[in-house]
Amino acid sequence: MPDTILVVVEQREGKLNRVSWETITAGQAIAAATGWTLEAAVVGAAAAAPEVAAKKVAKVYAIESARLNPYTPDAFAAALKQFLSSKPPKLILMPHTYQVRDFVPKLATAMGRTVISDCIGFKHESGKLLFTRQMFQGKLAADVSFSSDAPWFATFQNGAFRGDKAEEGASAAAVETVNVDIADGVIRNNPQEIFKEAKQAVDLTQAEVIVAVGRGIKEQKNIEIAKQLADALGGDLAASRPICDSGWLPMDRQIGSSGQTVAPKLYLALGISGAIQHIVGMKGSRTIIAVNKDSEAPIFELADYAVVGNLFDIVPPLIEEVKKAKAGS
């Protein structure tokens, strides 16, 4: 019997989180490389199971309990531990979302196992499975192996695989409902309704051109030149998290895992080093121009055009040239 890979998809309030398709793509790729069987599971949202069953997977499990809604780490860890203990797969894959980060280390620990998190790929070399992940904010990469028994847990970074590449199944896979028992007293957290903070004044996902600032902008007053560049280009101003944390720009200008994910025609990164939490929010941009005085900044791994230099020297003449070009045309 071949080993099994189990993709645990993510749902929010009954609806599948689309990042789950990326994990299915990853699971299909690992299954193809290893010859293992791919299965999937939905936790607390049986209604979403048929959508998953339409993909090329051998089987889908709908793990059910009234206590799985709303999401709590206690309930999810208890439910999955019960399910996984009855039929342990070799490898369990999940997307590296905030919700998965909230419970999967707990689940793995409860089972005496470990998680390799935020992976960007995998390798299958000489029968050994290795998971690639970024270290030191993207400056280095690591190939990591499991030295424990199965089951192994791994989570994949947003955008590491393409959700639209998830293969459809020739026919719908069987869906099996698995009722789990979550005892009284297991759940200790009492979550309230999910909400969006202040009304989002600007929707950066619609912007064609974005000029984003990072720590390299040094002071709040310097953001003015970035704004002038954004205006000259007819684009929107955005920022990495530390700028918003400092209150220099409002939170709705934040690009990254906690803020907005954008894919504009042009992303101009000024003084942004390229920390992973920021990159996941903009790596889908059509063209990336990065200006940073550190030639080793991880942002340059992603940039189509790289300017290694002082943004304060470069941005003012750039604004002038842009204005000239626009006036001329």
Binding site: P73, A77, R101, D102, P105, K106, A110, T114, V115, S117, D118, Q134, M135, F136, Q137, G138, L140, A141, A142, D143, S145, F146, S147, S148, R188, N189, N190, P191, E193, I194, F195, K196, V209, L233, R241, C244, S246, D252, Q254, S257, S258, Q260, T261, L266, S273, I276, E301, A303, D304, Y305, V307, G309, I314, P317, L318, E320, E321, V322, A325, S329
Partner: protein, 263 residues
């Protein structure tokens, strides 16, 4: 008259990591970095410490900081004491650097087994590994509830109400009992600087050292292994725009107009 709210005893787990802009070199075996770099406190942990100090200011109590690492990691504890932490615990050994998150959490749990904390804070993740696991693992080992990526903490009659940050600008309040483990998001507050008085006072605050031997029985073999650490292979074709600023500006505008059709 309302009963006085009991004081809070808070542990803050802190990590020393290479400085953000430190040039990193691989060691000979290509499995870790060479240690001759400059270090600093893991940024989210600094926010966790600041949050603990603010909670103590509000509710009275004690803030204890802990780190695991070589002798150099003591700097992180000294800075925390200078900012106002009451005492520190240093799991000191070079070998602590190589422990995976599971073992690090086990070592911390062993070091604090005789303490009675109300809250344990960690930063949401480290700037070197970026696993975001140690706090959650610690909660499971202790049998405590936990919440992650926290932006606000309020004490109430039944325990605490925390504000969880979710993706894309969403948030959620969660009521939970204490004792609990919380992983703290950067930006939860504004960091304070250590004062000269604080730095002076830090020298006399208690700093307990715990050896690897003392926690050896609690930890085991690592469950995962870095087989290889390397400079990532570039897949993207990057064009460098060079020259004096005026020339760079002209070249960029040329690209924007003719290649990218943005102008």
């Amino acid at each position: 008259m309302a009963a006085r709210s009991p004081p809070l005893k808070i542990l803050v787990c802190m990590k020393q990591v290479p400085q953000k802009d430190a040039p990193l070199k691989l060691n000979e075996s290509g499995t870790w970095i060479r240690e001759d770099v400059s270090y600093e406190v893991n940024e989210p942990d600094a926010y966790a410490l600041e949050e603990a100090l603010r909670q103590r200011e509000k509710h009275k109590g004690e803030v204890v900081v802990i780190t695991s690492g070589p002798a150099r990691a003591q700097q992180v504890l000294r800075e925390a004491l200078a900012k106002g932490a009451d005492r520190a615990i240093h799991l000191e050994d070079d070998k602590f650097v190589g422990l995976d998150a599971f073992n690090t959490a086990k070592a911390i749990a062993a070091a604090i087994k005789d303490e009675q904390f109300d809250l344990i804070f960690t930063g949401l993740q480290s700037d070197d590994y970026g696993y975001a696991q140690t706090g959650v693992i610690l909660a499971e080992l202790l049998g405590w509830p936990h919440a992650t990526i926290i932006m606000q903490i309020e004490k109430n009659d039944t325990g605490i109400r925390v504000k969880r940050e979710l993706e894309a600008g969403y948030f959620q309040f969660v009521d939970m009992p204490t004792p609990a483990v919380l992983t703290i998001q950067s930006g939860i507050n504004k960091l304070r600087y250590a004062t000269l008085i604080g730095i002076k006072q830090a020298k006399t605050k208690p700093l307990r050292k715990v050896t690897l031997g003392e926690v050896q029985s609690a930890i085991g073999e690592n469950l995962q292994k870095i087989e290889k650490l390397y400079v990532p292979q570039k897949t993207k074709k990057t064009e460098h725009i060079e020259g004096p600023p005026a020339e760079i500006a002209k070249k960029l505008v040329d690209k924007l107009r003719n290649e990218l059709r943005v102008l």
